[in-house]
Symmetry: C2
Subunit: 81 residues, 2 copies
């Protein structure tokens, strides 16, 4: 069965407290060259049958309406792997 | 500044309660063709300067030691975007 991967990230303009906390930890642990950490979701789901345009359109709808909160998050990619 | 994206997923053999819950919701909401939902993390971080092999090796170390819990998660990709 094909797998669809949906990537969701917090909106760029919003504060990402979790990301900030990890950024701070990286600096304290000597990995200061890595900055501006932002943490989102990577959702995998299998789909029965072929991935047609209709299925992808529905996956987009599911991604935007169920898998993410459009007030604070953006769906940044939907791909078949 | 270049951005490195680290994708982390729960180990395949482990139960993913969150994924199971979302799978159930999708079925109840009429999107039953999407199944086996698994939810992981997508971590973005910027890096100062050029992304050399050394920087990528360090990003891998950070991904495995700090950004994921190797007991229950796998780092499935590290890429420069």
């Amino acid at each position: 069965m094909p797998t669809i991967v949906v990537d969701v990230m917090p909106k760029a303009e919003l504060l990402d407290p979790q990301g900030k906390a990890v950024t701070g930890s990286l600096a304290r642990l000597g990995h200061g060259q890595f900055q501006n950490v932002r943490i989102g979701k990577r959702v995998e789901m299998t789909v029965e049958g072929e991935v047609t345009d209709e299925v992808l359109a529905e996956a987009k709808k599911v991604a935007e309406e169920i898998l993410s909160n459009q007030v604070i998050e953006d769906v940044i990619s939907i791909e078949v792997v």
